[in-house]
Symmetry: C2
Subunit: 481 residues, 2 copies
Amino acid sequence: MKFSDLDAIFLPKSAALIGASRNPRKWGFKIGLNVIAEKFRGAFYLVNPKETEFLSRRVYPNIRDIPGAVDLAVIVIPAPLVPSALKECGAMGVKAAVVITSGFRELSPEGEKLEREITGIARDHGILLVGPNTMGIYSADVKLHALMVPVAPFPGKISFVSQSGNLGVQLLTESRSHEVGFQKFVSNGNEAMLHSEDYIEYFGGDPETRTIMIYLEGFKNPQRFLEIARRVSREKPIVLLKGGKTDSGARAALSHSGAMKSTRNISSAIFRQAGIIEVEDTTELLDAAKGFERLPVPRGPNVGIITGGGGLGVITTDACELRGLRVPPLTTGLTEDLRKIMPDFWPGGNPIDLVATGGSRVVHTCIEKLAAEPYIDAVIALGVANRARAFADTPQTIFRTLPPEMLQEKTRVIEEGDRRLAELVHEVIERHRKPIIAVSLARPGLKYEEISPIVTYPTPERAVRVLARMYQYYQLQQRKS
Amino acid sequence: MKFSDLDAIFLPKSAALIGASRNPRKWGFKIGLNVIAEKFRGAFYLVNPKETEFLSRRVYPNIRDIPGAVDLAVIVIPAPLVPSALKECGAMGVKAAVVITSGFRELSPEGEKLEREITGIARDHGILLVGPNTMGIYSADVKLHALMVPVAPFPGKISFVSQSGNLGVQLLTESRSHEVGFQKFVSNGNEAMLHSEDYIEYFGGDPETRTIMIYLEGFKNPQRFLEIARRVSREKPIVLLKGGKTDSGARAALSHSGAMKSTRNISSAIFRQAGIIEVEDTTELLDAAKGFERLPVPRGPNVGIITGGGGLGVITTDACELRGLRVPPLTTGLTEDLRKIMPDFWPGGNPIDLVATGGSRVVHTCIEKLAAEPYIDAVIALGVANRARAFADTPQTIFRTLPPEMLQEKTRVIEEGDRRLAELVHEVIERHRKPIIAVSLARPGLKYEEISPIVTYPTPERAVRVLARMYQYYQLQQRKS
């Protein structure tokens, strides 16, 4: 069987939930609710011999009773019932199955036997098998949220394979406040048939995926994993968080994922050779994936910084130096240019301190001129973007004191400023193919339930860490070519 | 003059804004609005010869016209007018002045002269001088928000002195989503009279301050700073972020704070000798301060972990080991005890994987028994706390699909579970004097506009980093005694 095309899993035209339940404590309820509430684009069938109705939809007693073709089966029934369900799926021409059910290899020798059995059945019937013991899958384009927990990430261009369902869905949940958008996600569970590298290969060829994100504890086939990663990382950045890096962590991973994975540990150097960007922690996993997804990579280490205030410029500069980037002085020419628009008391230098001028003309000019300098490879702008969001988050007690028309006008002006800055930033990124990153506390909230148009991190240190990773990827690419 | 008592700054019974303005673009408007909107507990007077009314309040033409005593003057008028205003303040018996106005030493030699002049006037009249060139102060107990930007942190037990106004107010703003509460804050500006160490000394003696937080770029008097820090850190944890750690960063700091500060850099080892906890970045500054504010310090490196899922347990274990903490195996006795309440397939071990049981009895028992073990010094609980907040953040599209009564009942059950867990955690912390930290995506949002009762971080790595700092503080304390 070839796994190069996992479309039946991620782009099914129809799906069935085997084990749909009206009991809200059961997975058969939660998954059904998620799929329906998020409006899966394909046909969706519910199956359970003991039920007739689920959220006003018909429940079929048996897979055979489904009146149409089924691409994907999502299976939540008890483990001993899975083999026969899979056989029926096979008879119906089902192309892929996500087996949520646990109680297989991770549980006992009997479970391991059962897992071999269902894997065999899947192979015999040409069914792609996800899991078992998975928390499910997500796919933005067809709006499929076949997940055990209610998670609705923003749609985006990142695809994510996680060897921990729990960590995976936690990150998907968190991703909203990080303003990270996902294209596809899979919790790969016990990897009875499909391994991490199969998903990586598929995401590599997926035109909707721009960046691949991985949480990995172990390998079934390290060599194949690294070969595929090496090939895919030439085209698309792969960011990876390794679980079980330390002795105690590896022990915990062994207990978590059972004996099914190779315990052989892979060093960071080997990941690097495969072109993989290994990150430090969960926050960086999301941050870096977002940067790669949305920005061109810097082609050198030199950062130009624009800051609304001195202290933030100082710590941003420290962070750059500590991460192997540089904050070079401005050329005399650029300094003279900027003096024309800056107040007399502008001290000069990089970081460019806006010395509380903050007018949009000054900010725009600084961004344009910095990005145009041949020796500047990236721009970080502190405290100038997404002001409307920050303003909306302002404690409302303060602004409730203002006359409403004053508040309205203020909001209008700020929103207009945001919009114009975002346009400029996009245009400058396109023109110079250099990353421009904003730092702002803004996050999707009440009023702004969407990803902000400028790539933004909430702290300077996180913005710099991403930039350093992107430069690392650029260097890896150069070395290879 | 002795600075040991800065009550006139932080606990004034009355305050005057010198330079109140009806123009919403002026600091005299913004600060006035903040003070009034946040309901300063003392008398608040507005002064400006060109105005008569501000948000329906009377504006006095002159300081002399104020009908009562004034403890604190907040001054925003142009620099050349500050000397005479300070003299009038002196004549009126004003005890302290926060000079927001810039254009002093940071600007020019003339500004430096003017700064010497106002410092002399303040000394002559016994006025405590904050700044000049400060973004202002905040004090929770008297509800004083004399800040240039609209920031309303949660009240708490952390006091914060920042050598960057901009970075300081940024962190105060961010602090709400970190669930960090502040007692007092000062942006110390040019430090013409009062230096960082004066505030540290005052916060050290302040019964309402439990933890001191510092952003520092340079010293006026390094020896005195370290002496005071050494003394204060015996009683209260001091967490510090140093700006200008790298060569480029130090250059940026010089340009930011001007020649006023000693450029002599202090190494991390010297901070450590003074008992100061130096942190890595702005996020850790807030995180660590919160931990010290609200939890007992661990008296050893051994962490017990409770996790809702394997992967999160693995990365938490990695993070502990990488930060010098340990995740020891459970004793046979504890393992046997837990087997009684765990399902058959519980794999045992530390992290304790709740294997999707998640019932509150199991969670409570695990926390109680772990904390009671003599060899366990701290507990981290992943994914079990603050569920109501996380639930309220769930994309509402999903739950809008549910019948309202089902949603209501679900919310009630989750809230009740949160409440009972919080009670248990507080009780166990009191009984064993060991820190118990939760990891949860929950943050103050729409529905829960308050700090959650259990100390919570959004990622395992951040929880572990705090715990490692707290253990570092414990070791520093031990060494000294």
